[in-house]
Symmetry: C2
Subunit: 201 residues, 2 copies
Amino acid sequence: MSKGVLFIVSAPSGCGKGTILAEILKSGNIYYSISATTRSPRPGEVNGVNYHFISKEEFEELIENNGVLEYASYCDNYYGTPRKPVEDMLNEGKHVILEIEVQGALKVMQKCPDAVSVFILPPSMKELERRLRKRGTEDNDVIKKRLSQAEDEIKYAENYDYIMVNCELEKAVNDLAAIIRAEELKKENTINLIDEVLCNA
Amino acid sequence: MSKGVLFIVSAPSGCGKGTILAEILKSGNIYYSISATTRSPRPGEVNGVNYHFISKEEFEELIENNGVLEYASYCDNYYGTPRKPVEDMLNEGKHVILEIEVQGALKVMQKCPDAVSVFILPPSMKELERRLRKRGTEDNDVIKKRLSQAEDEIKYAENYDYIMVNCELEKAVNDLAAIIRAEELKKENTINLIDEVLCNA
C-alpha cells in the first residue's frame, strides 16, 4: 500500500474554500486534519471535531517535541497542526487535507516536501468584496481589512503547486477533485501497479 | 496566454488507449499530433488525418534539420513526429497529445522536459490476453507476440509521470481528464492569474 498524500489548501476568507472542501470530503476518501488550540471551546464546539482542545502545557510540550507541523499564537492562545494524527493517516494510505492560512502553509511545505499545495483564488477582488458584503455579517471596516489581508495572501499563491480559481462552485470542486485524483495517479503513488500487472501474467 | 501542455500517452496494444483518447479529444480543448511517414497511404487513409504522408527525401531533410521530435524506421519506411506542428499548437496555448510507443516516448521526454507523460496499464496480463483474443482478428502466435511485447513495454512505465489502469473505460477517461486538468492548474500554467486577480481590485 502506498502512503497517502498530504494536501495543503489555502484561500483568502470569502473564496468559498469551506464549501469546496465540504464537497470534497463527502467522497470519503480523504480526511480533514483537525487543528489543536489552547483556547476554550465556544458553545457548540466539540473536542476532536472543531478542534483538539488542549492545555497550554500540553501544547508547549508538543512544540518542544516537534509534535506540531506548524503553530502560531493569536490573542494569547496557541493554534497549530498536531503532527502525529496527520502522519498516522498518511501511513494508513489515507489522504489528508490541511486547510491552513498562508504562513502556516509555508511552514508545512518546508517540513513536508512531499505535500501538495493548492491555492484557491477569487475570480477578482471586486467579486471577493461582493461575496464578503453578501454575507452581511461584517461592517465596512472589517470587510476592508479582509480585502487587504486577501491581497497580501494572494501574493503568496506563487509558492503553491497548484493555483485554481473559484468562479463557480461545481467547477471549483471538480478542479480540486482533479488535482487530488491526478496526484493519486503520479508515478510515485502507482509504481507498485507495474509489478502487480506483470505478476498476474 | 500560457503555453499549451504536451502530453505523451503510451500503452501496450489492447489497453484501450485509442478509445480513451477518442473520448478525451471530444472535449475539443486538446489536439492530437499526427505522425509523418514515408510509407504509402493505404486505401481510405487521408493525408493530414491518419498521417502526414511525405517522401523519403522530405523525411531525411526533417531529420537533418532537427525537425522531428522522434523517429524510427520500420520495414524500410520512416515514422516520426514532426516538431513544428506540435510547437505551433503549444505556442497557441493548445494542449497536444502524442500517442506513441515507449521508445519514441523516451526520446520525446528527453527533448521536451516539460512534457507530461502518462502510461496506461491493463488491469492484468490475463485481462489483456482476454481483450486481445476478444478482437478475434489475430491468430495465437500474434497474440503471444503482442503479450510479450506488452510485458516489455510495461517495464518502462516507471519512466512516466503518471501511471493509470484501464479497468473500466469511463473511469479511465475520467482519470486521464483529471491528469490533464490538474496539469492545467499547475502553478507554471496559472501563475498569471495572480496578477489578473490583483489588478481587478
